[in-house]
Symmetry: C2
Amino acid sequence: MVSGPENPSPHIPPCAEITGMGWAAPGVASGTAVVCNALSVFPIATPLSYASHRARFMHSVRTSFPRPTCFRHSGSGGNEPDECRQRKRPENQGGNRLIVTEYVQISIETLHTFLSRVFVARGFNAADASFIADTLIDADRRGISSHGVQRLAMYDHKLRHGMIDPNAHATVVSDVKACAVLDGHSGMGQLISRDAMELAISKAQNHGIGIVAVRDSNHFGTAGFYARMAADQGLIGLASTNSNPLTVPTHAGLPALGSNPIAFAVGQGDDQLVYDAATSTVSLGKIEVLVKLGQPIEGDWAVDGQGLINHDSADVMDNIKATPRIGGLTPLGGAGETNAGYKGYGLALMVETFTGILSGGLLSLDMRGQHICHCFAAISLESFGGAPLVGSRVAELSRRLRSMPSVDGHDVLVPGDKENTAFRINTTTVTVDEATFRQLAKIGERTGIAAPPAIALDEYR
Amino acid sequence: MVSGPENPSPHIPPCAEITGMGWAAPGVASGTAVVCNALSVFPIATPLSYASHRARFMHSVRTSFPRPTCFRHSGSGGNEPDECRQRKRPENQGGNRLIVTEYVQISIETLHTFLSRVFVARGFNAADASFIADTLIDADRRGISSHGVQRLAMYDHKLRHGMIDPNAHATVVSDVKACAVLDGHSGMGQLISRDAMELAISKAQNHGIGIVAVRDSNHFGTAGFYARMAADQGLIGLASTNSNPLTVPTHAGLPALGSNPIAFAVGQGDDQLVYDAATSTVSLGKIEVLVKLGQPIEGDWAVDGQGLINHDSADVMDNIKATPRIGGLTPLGGAGETNAGYKGYGLALMVETFTGILSGGLLSLDMRGQHICHCFAAISLESFGGAPLVGSRVAELSRRLRSMPSVDGHDVLVPGDKENTAFRINTTTVTVDEATFRQLAKIGERTGIAAPPAIALDEYR
């Protein structure tokens, strides 16, 4: 379990004392930032692990505090030291010596310019490039770092290797009344999905509802982004996607379904209800983070080839990368039937029907990173009392839920609360971990486009 | 975990030796059936517990074997004796002495006549009474005993106390293109829901999709029934409902959402995919069964008022019946965040939006057994390749999933497989536990309508 910010530990030396542990990101203007790893519990040789560790906690912290102060992680081992760091300018620093952190603040404006230019360099027109940048920054602003700018390296790889066609746009396969199927022709998932949700919204305005299935697309970022497109216009939005095989059906030992998320959004502003979650217990990204940290899995998130819970994060990843894949993620509810894992499996299969099957596209079972299928729906609230009334009832229910007493010190929230809070806070900058910061610099070098610098602490404060 | 049928235990005496433990149901024609409890591990004073126990296992057995033979239950305690019974006609029995079992076979035809007459006696017209009987028997035929004829006592109670109006039919609150809201005026849930789904199907045929929210209805039986109405006509069907507050939001200690099931159906025949499950880890009925058995809860199905997992089934039920309610069911994924219980909570909230909020009706938070809200949707497959193509792709995916090697001896299935198999088997009779059998007899006495007799074993065999 991850706790919220705690008081700074007096045992951690101030940052200036251990500046030698820091690193300088390539491609960043010299002298702009000195990055210091203040946590001596991590060996110098593994800065990435720590960055990932911090990235994992970033979200919960940023939703509580605009500027993270200190963390504590109680791992399953129980014998790990507190990882807590005093985040203040040391008394003995001087001149323009700046303390950034092991994660980095970047200007949204600068980052947007950079991303847009990179995407233009990869073949997109300016408007499309700008939109893709919007979607990535939106995820980072909401604390969904896993689907933010840290995905740029993956998109860049696929663009360079012809797996994503920057010039492809969706074409209509069929279009009957409230329903349609689009073919994405291996285009960029964000563009294909934007067009598909816009069509669903248009259909909802004409017919009351619209549903659009999409085949041969690519990774589309967060499903919630498209659900919110509809909610922002006063409709209900739904979005889902299939993916590579990751989720193991109940009683099996091999993955057969994607993480197959469901996103749902209704209402506006701070009371916008946004549910966006995989139908597996967790997404694969959470396990990837633990591998980087060398930490075991606490929960019942994955099984081995015998269907037994596998707490060894590295082993889980090795198995999922094997050919054929072995074991994988548990469906929501876990392995076996004790805690109703067959429900998560059934929900994943429902998503597979709406995506792979309705679109006439590829099933998760046969997928290897390309030709992904989505489904989007928008529902007009005209027949249901209108958007203001529905929005106010959603907001009222959310308020009643949030006012429930907590039993464990963690506030009772509704889906979207953490992300909405983070979005309000992160108006001018976003936080990226050092691995991502390095990746941006590397892509900047490769494309000849200046990567966004880390913000000087003087500017940041 | 519940295992499949095992070899008969040689330690259990043949049924004829312990006929004295049997009971005769009131209102059943004398001599028709001699019921024998063959399991000496249960005290004579608690036949209901045993019946419930058997009811709990009935489903999994009936889906494997049309005539159950023997069970073994490995409880969490690990020290419970095997509960296994030899189910054959003893050598020393003579004449027309019949062995039924501690659960009873009833003719579907006779049961339908009885139910229809009871519902007519409670104020329904003949056609509506017959339809309600259909829905209950359908559940029993599919092995969903919790939502079958055993619910008659609850419906009868509500009808006698004016909580259900047998003459109320749904009226249209709003109807715009593909969307509508109906008011059920406290009518019978099954009738209101049938009309609502028929409207959704009609809208889907006209617009491509139809979505109908319903307020002020009553318990509607299984959500899957209505989803299948659409699937049987070559559409996708979706159905959901809210309920009394049962599910505890993540980090809270009080229930605020119903068990809020989601049902989804597509395809036809044996390959019809039918998902129908609460968004809580289990439905309350599963805990009620354990209370009757005096058994603890094995899984993480419920929490106490402090949000801690509560394995004491009786305590869970006492808390849920308290005013105000304390603790309750965990959302799918469990308590806290370790195994993503916030996802089940979010899904329950999505269902609450589609039911209580879109209908303008009562929220689970404010519900006390009445004024329940539903939502139904039907989606035409015309734009998605047509019902035959979609059905064949669903069937092909199901076949691939079923062919996956099992890791624990339990077949890999798809949602609906167990129920479809049971439905094929139970063509002329259904099985009810002795408690339900007694309730039918009692209602028969009350209404002056002859309750269905248990079927003689000679007829049954």
